[in-house]
């Protein structure tokens, strides 16, 4: 190395790589240190673009960041990258470069490259640790947000829950724009329990999820839909006028009423909606919700699938109910209750077959009340047991008078309704037995009517009770058949004597093909399992003649007679005796099992085509 100048020595053997390139980064000179470090010969790299020595990631970063920086700012400092050496191994390095005028008048780039293995390793480790820390922080933030969300939202529908609604209401009331009021709409599905009970909780959950989605899409983005519990939803919206709120209620009903299919079954839902608006009194969220709730109860009482607006002049229905309950207790004790009897007639012969006992309440100030006005209350409060026992006592006592046992006198059966609570009352069998004994009444002349809903509340208990009653000789009927959404196959399992086809199907006879198909299937099914079919709510001669054609056995309804007092029934029987001859009872023979199954399947199909959530309510009518 003689003759080498200091400058040459410094250049060739500096403690770092030196390179010169042209302005396109093509290598024009390289020092020994770089060649030794990479293992290349100078002929390998001269004329080669420097980026070709970099792995693709570094090359991309070089092209997108270092190149423009060089061109715009004239330098880059300590860019971290890797150089691929002659053996293909990657060597970590730091690159610093400046661009400067070259000797030939063009631009040259002067490059220094340091080996930086440890530094790169260390920095990558630090970045990885930083990422992990960020990730863990993000996770705990997400978890916290998730917990907060869980606390304020309903897990089934994802809507705000009661707590979530409370905070939303507080905010909305505070931030209500001027000229706008906050409307709270309390939405309660009608008969949701029946769906849950008959189709199962999964189907119920699915229904709630669909309803939640529908309500949400019917509400503007400024509105809120929350789920309070079970089938109770609340919609909060800013409105200018009450009519905005009622229009919203209409829209909500419309969307809820659209048919939906759950587990292959088409269902039409309905809902009752109560509306309450903020007023000048500075209503708070809790009061507003309470007012909407009250209005909702009024909508339910008015027949469901409608809305009602909170009226401050109306009392609190909860208080009203408490008062009514006290009056009912008093009424039972002081003899304000009456039993009326609706005749049931053999369709073929028009001869009276029996009567259904129906309770009435002669209220001192409100006049004669129908079961719909107080039976729910009696059932919920448990007062139904006392009330039911009283009706049974009255009806059996009266029945004994109509059946004196004189030869030639046609027997008159008596039917009495049993509610869910009564059916599950452990004293029921005793009560029935002692009542029959006390009045020496033929058990075969007593029929107890049970709704499908009551049967399905606890099928095992119901089966045991009904079997015992049956063994005593008491007749059993399924009331309001077709409205309870119960599986039809249970018909075969319960010791039933009669199927009472619900008035909602009978009323559609002749005008609604679906109803006609259901009535026809019910009658065939009843006969196939060897029991009688009874049509409820027969009001026209056309319905009567259709039922006759379909082979229905018995009928009751205004076409024959409205419910009458015991005295009127006595006269009615006497009149009938003068005009007609008693019929000989028809003995029904059950069909084989497979024929019954086929009929059940027919009826299922007819039901599926029917709007199952419409029609009369499956409330027991004592």
């Amino acid at each position: 190395m003689t003759g080498e100048t200091d400058y040459e020595r410094l250049y060739q053997q500096a403690p770092c790589g030196y390179l010169l390139t042209d302005d396109t980064w093509t290598i024009t000179a390289v020092n020994d240190t770089f060649l030794t470090w990479t293992g290349y010969r100078s002929s390998d790299v001269l004329g080669m673009p420097l980026p070709q020595l970099l792995p693709v990631g570094d090359r991309l970063l070089h092209a997108t960041n270092s190149v423009p920086r060089m061109q715009l700012a004239g330098s880059v400092s300590e860019v971290s990258l890797e150089i691929i050496d002659a053996t293909g191994k990657r060597k970590a390095a730091l690159l610093t470069a400046v661009s400067a005028p070259g000797p030939d008048g063009g631009t040259e780039i002067r490059v220094i490259i340091f080996s930086a293995h440890e530094r790169r390793k260390h920095e990558l480790e630090l970045v990885a640790a930083r990422r992990r820390a960020e990730e863990s922080e993000a996770r705990s933030l997400r978890a916290e947000a998730g917990l907060q969300h869980l606390a304020l939202h309903d897990s089934l529908t994802g809507l705000p829950n009661r707590a979530g609604l409370a905070s939303i209401l507080t905010r909305e009331l505070a931030e209500s724009p001027s000229g706008k009021e906050v409307a709270v709409l309390f939405v309660d599905l009608d008969h949701f329990k029946a769906v849950n009970d008959s189709l199962g909780h999964n189907a119920g959950d699915e229904l709630l999820t669909i309803v939640a989605q529908r309500l949400s899409s019917a509400v503007r983005s400024t509105g809120t839909v929350a789920r309070l519990s079970g089938d109770e939803f609340v919609v909060v919206e800013h409105v200018s006028t009450l009519s905005d709120a009622t229009a919203l209620a209409e829209r909500l009903l419309e969307t809820v009423n659209r048919s939906l299919v759950i587990e292959g079954l088409e269902i039409i839902c309905s809902a009752s909606i109560g509306i309450a608006l903020t007023d000048s009194d500075g209503t708070d969220g809790t009061q507003l919700l309470r007012h909407a709730d009250i209005a909702m109860y009024r909508a339910k009482a008015r027949g469901r699938n409608i809305w009602d607006v909170h009226d401050p002049s109306q009392g609190d229905p909860a208080a009203n109910r408490m008062r009514l309950l006290g009056e009912l207790r008093h009424g039972i004790r002081t003899g304000q209750l009456r039993v009326h009897y609706q005749p049931r007639v053999d369709i073929a012969t028009n001869v009276i077959n029996g009567v259904e006992a129906l309770v009435r309440w002669e209220h001192p100030t409100r006049g004669l009340l129908q079961p719909i006005d107080f039976i729910d209350l009696a059932e919920e409060s448990g007062l139904i047991r006392a009330l039911g026992a009283w009706v049974l006592e009255e009806a059996v006592q009266q029945g004994r008078l109509w059946n004196p046992g004189t030869p030639g006198c046609a027997p008159v059966g008596v039917a009495v309704n049993l509610s869910t609570r009564q059916l599950l009352d452990p004293h029921l069998v005793d009560t029935v037995a002692t009542t029959l004994t006390r009045h020496d009444f033929d058990p075969h002349l007593l029929t107890l009517e049970i709704t499908e809903t009551a049967l399905m509340e606890s099928p095992a208990v119901a089966l045991k009770v009904l079997t015992t009653l049956k063994a005593m000789g008491v007749g059993l009927a399924i009331d309001d058949f077709g409205t309870g959404y119960a599986s039809l196959t249970y018909l075969k399992d319960f010791p039933i004597d009669e199927l009472k086809i619900d008035r909602s199907f009978v009323s559609g006879l002749g005008s609604n093909d679906g109803d006609s198909a259901i009535v026809s299937s019910c009658i065939q099914l009843a006969h196939a399992v060897g029991i009688r079919a009874v049509a409820e709510g027969v009001e026209t001669d056309h319905q009567r003649s259709t039922l006759l054609t379909l082979g229905c056995d018995l009928a009751q309804g205004y076409h024959y007679s409205k419910p009458l007092t015991a005295e009127s029934v006595t006269r009615w029987i006497a009149d009938q005796d003068d005009t007609s001859n008693p019929s000989s009872p028809v003995v029904l023979q059950p069909l084989p099992e497979d024929a019954v199954d086929a009929l059940i399947s027919d009826l299922d199909t007819a039901m599926e085509n029917h709007e199952v959530m419409e029609g009369s309510s499956p409330v027991p009518t004592l």
């Binding site: 960041n65 400092s77 860019v79 971290s80 920095e123």
Partner: protein, 275 residues
């Protein structure tokens, strides 16, 4: 100006220059730099055009307080910003000059709001950087290549995060830039750059091309690592009414390496435009 307008201008470090009453040229930068990328071409437009440039959220001097990783993990967030800048300044008949990944945004913005734009100038564009053998599409890279890029970003993390890189002691080539300014030029935020790199290199806008109704100029560089010639031809085929011009400039950033050639190509295209 409304609060919204001011906030958009502030958020994206929008700069407006040139002739206030001139037609609008809006410059959108690509991955790896910021609006400084246009530093050398802007002077060619200032005498006749109203020149607007901005930084994408996460780049340059944009306000990182508004950076939401979710919003900026796809092109849509950036496209919405671009349209918001146009709306805030009430820009009409815009000539949108977009480099690299911004060309992808330009195409999406033109599909969403064609009436805002008069012409698209796509500088070194790509429809997708990833090869798609099933469609015989050559983008130039594989998914693994992009992972390598992310590692390169990581290895430069600390230098970028704290601007720790030393300043070169002598820089005779760029006397106009000194000290701090030099250090901050196209400096990249390492956290947002990672997200931006993913969006840039993993987006695929091939499906949008058929919906573009705004005429476009495609500027294809020689020896562009990021946009091979096949990509330029592909875009030209797919974009109805497009013009493809090859530049002598090498590399991926012709507006920096060959500002004059780049500006002339754009001006010539706009001049020959009959509308």
């Amino acid at each position: 100006m409304s609060v919204d307008t001011l906030s958009v201008i502030d958020r994206h470090n929008v700069t407006v220059g040139g002739r206030p009453d001139g037609p609008v040229v809006l410059f959108a930068h690509g991955f790896g730099c910021d609006q400084n990328m246009w530093h050398r071409v802007v002077p060619f437009f200032e005498d006749r055009f109203r020149v607007v440039s901005f930084d994408h959220m996460g780049s340059g001097q944009s306000d990182l307080a508004f950076y939401e990783p979710g919003r900026y993990s796809t092109l849509d967030g950036y496209v919405a910003d671009l349209l918001a800048v146009c709306e805030a300044l009430e820009l009409r008949d815009v000539v949108l000059v977009a480099h690299s990944v911004a060309a992808m945004m330009a195409i999406k913005a033109a599909v969403a709001n064609p009436e805002t734009f008069r012409r698209l100038i796509l500088v070194a564009p790509s429809a997708s950087y990833i090869n798609d053998p099933s469609e015989s599409y050559v983008g130039g890279f594989t998914q693994e290549d992009i992972h390598e890029l992310l590692e390169s970003l990581d290895s430069n993390y600390f230098a970028w995060a704290a601007a720790l890189a030393p300043i070169v002691m002598g820089n005779p080539g760029a006397p106009e830039l000194t000290g701090e300014l030099e250090a901050s030029f196209c400096r990249t935020n390492p956290d947002t750059a990672r997200n931006f790199a993913r969006v840039t290199f993993l987006s695929d806008i091939r499906a949008d091309l058929k919906d573009v109704s705004v005429p476009a100029l495609i500027l294809q560089c020689s020896e562009d690592l990021l946009a091979p010639p096949e990509v330029g031809r592909y875009l030209h085929d797919q974009l109805a009414g497009s013009t493809l011009v090859g530049l002598k400039a090498t590399g991926h950033v012709p507006q920096a390496s060959a500002p004059e050639e780049t500006a002339r190509a754009i001006l010539q295209y706009l001049q020959s435009d009959p509308s």
